[in-house]
Amino acid sequence: MDFIKIITEIEKIDPEIYERLDTRRRVFQHVSGLGKKLSAAALPGLVSMLFNKAYGQSGNTSLPQGIVDILNLALQLEYLEYYFYDKVLTTTSLLNTADAAAVTAIRNDESGHIKVLREALGTRAKPQSAPTADAFDYTAGGRFPNVFTSAAVFFTVAQCFEDLGVRAYKGAAPKLLSNKTLLETALNIHSVEARHASHIRTLRRGLSAGVSGPDAAQALPSLTSLATKPKSWISGTDADGPSAPFTAAIYGAGSPAVGVAAQLFYPAESNVTQVGINVQTTPMAPTNELPLNAASASEAFDEALNDGVVKDIALNFRSALGASIGLELFQ
């Protein structure tokens, strides 16, 4: 077998083969002594390894079930988000021009994340066919009846989805530790979700202050009304979220909620203890930089949430149709 010939043949079918290999340039780093050790005997295995990595096809066969489950949860959350933004953009005229532009950018990001996750999962993606918007109930069983007629309610739900997404990806990260490529991808999606969350929070703050557009970012948050005037980061439990008590779980503790420093556990967003110490009272902080208040101490860290609690929250947004057509969401 001639390796170059194989690539050339594949190129006829898939013109993007070089790009695929190139964007995964690190693939070659894992093949030590590529030039030196290449032998006819080694070639079939080598080719298989290269293309598994380039196409992410290892998701089809060799990915542990635990990783598949965690990626499928992420995929389903991305669908939930994607259709939410797509629906407001394509079926309503709720948003002003500036907000619509931001929501379009966010919608497109979620679409990109769906592609990435489907690529990684291959034939093990659940659901195999993309669901439709009707699989979701964005009123959450009537809790948000005006979700597509009131910008305030729309962004309330948007903030919930984005903050939940950040916590879900963060909770997933340790479970991906055995696959560095997927870990890196998931964490870098997580980073984009955090930008979305920050942006929506900024918009909401502006909305509450009656300021839209350019001045929204300068609208001041209120620590006594965090539900309507949130900071761009999560402060304490954000007064149990933008629509308490329903949204409390999004900012609350997961399971297990407590543990020792060497374990994984999922405290509420108001947590101020990291690496086993209360970060407010670290003796290492120079005294002239104190005090570190509880709000800052909690804001400085976004807490992870375990997949079980993430699913419980997300299930509130699965429609009866979604359930009746056997959509295997969040299972």
Partner: protein, 237 residues
């Protein structure tokens, strides 16, 4: 001999740096010192007291991020100490939040290094002379630079961390840095929700861009002067 080559204006700094050297943080410097002390025949490499060579493995990654958190905290403190006159009251409120967050990140990473029995890099004083910190626009542009650098730095190394709880700790910080970056971007240039900070090349779409430690340190080099930071020992896979 070693004291004279490490002389400094501040005794505190001297002690810190010696402790740091003894704990093998500065690999190149310590080796050169040992050689110089052993034999007159051995060709000696001039000791560079300003070279900070970060360790291998998780300790090196923690130190790398600790250094960047020092830099961010130092920047915001500098702005709060001498705020530009055109800075608005609301800006100051936010900049205090950002300073507090970075300060907490810095101290938490220092504590995490201690918990891992890893020698921390010394406390640095940074050189911000290349920045224009006398106007609001200059401060916000610089803040954007630091926050985006921080986001890209975390995104570039988190997957290289070996220890599960260290990974979780760093991920808790990484998303807060991303929140900062979007917020600063919105303050600086409203209604330009950043989509330019993502990679869009198959198979990756809308995945945050990242930078390697080498790229990050190259961009931040002017702020470390006269120190130089070597990241060659950090893990790459």
């Amino acid at each position: 001999m070693s004291s004279s080559s490490l002389s400094d204006t501040s005794t505190g700094t001297l002690v810190r740096r010696r402790t740091f050297l003894q704990a093998a943080g500065v690999v190149a410097g310590a080796t050169a010192l040992t050689l110089a002390g052993c034999s007159d025949d051995t060709p000696t490499t001039p000791v560079d007291p300003y070279l900070l060579s970060l360790q291998e493995a998780d300790a090196g990654l923690l130190n790398y991020l600790y250094l960047l958190e020092q830099l961010e905290a130092g920047f915001y403190q500098q702005v709060l100490d001498v705020p530009p006159t055109d800075l608005q009251a609301s800006d100051l409120t936010y900049l205090r939040d950002l300073r507090d967050h970075e300060l907490i990140h810095r101290e938490t990473l220092l504590f995490a290094l201690g918990s891992a029995n890893a020698a921390p890099v010394p406390t640095l004083t940074f050189n911000f002379s290349t920045l224009n910190l006398t106007t609001r626009a200059g401060v916000l542009a610089a803040a954007k630079t630091f926050e985006e650098l921080g986001v890209a730095a975390y995104n570039g190394v988190l997957h290289l961390v070996a220890d599960t709880t260290t990974l979780q700790l760093l991920a808790k910080i990484a998303s807060v840095e991303a929140r900062h970056a979007d917020f600063i971007n919105e303050l600086l240039t409203p209604n330009t929700f950043a989509t330019t900070m993502v990679v869009n090349e198959g198979p990756l779409f809308s995945v945050a861009a990242s930078k390697t430690p080498t790229q990050v340190i190259a961009e931040a080099a002017p702020f470390f002067l006269p120190y130089k930071v070597s990241v060659t020992a950090l893990p790459t896979t």
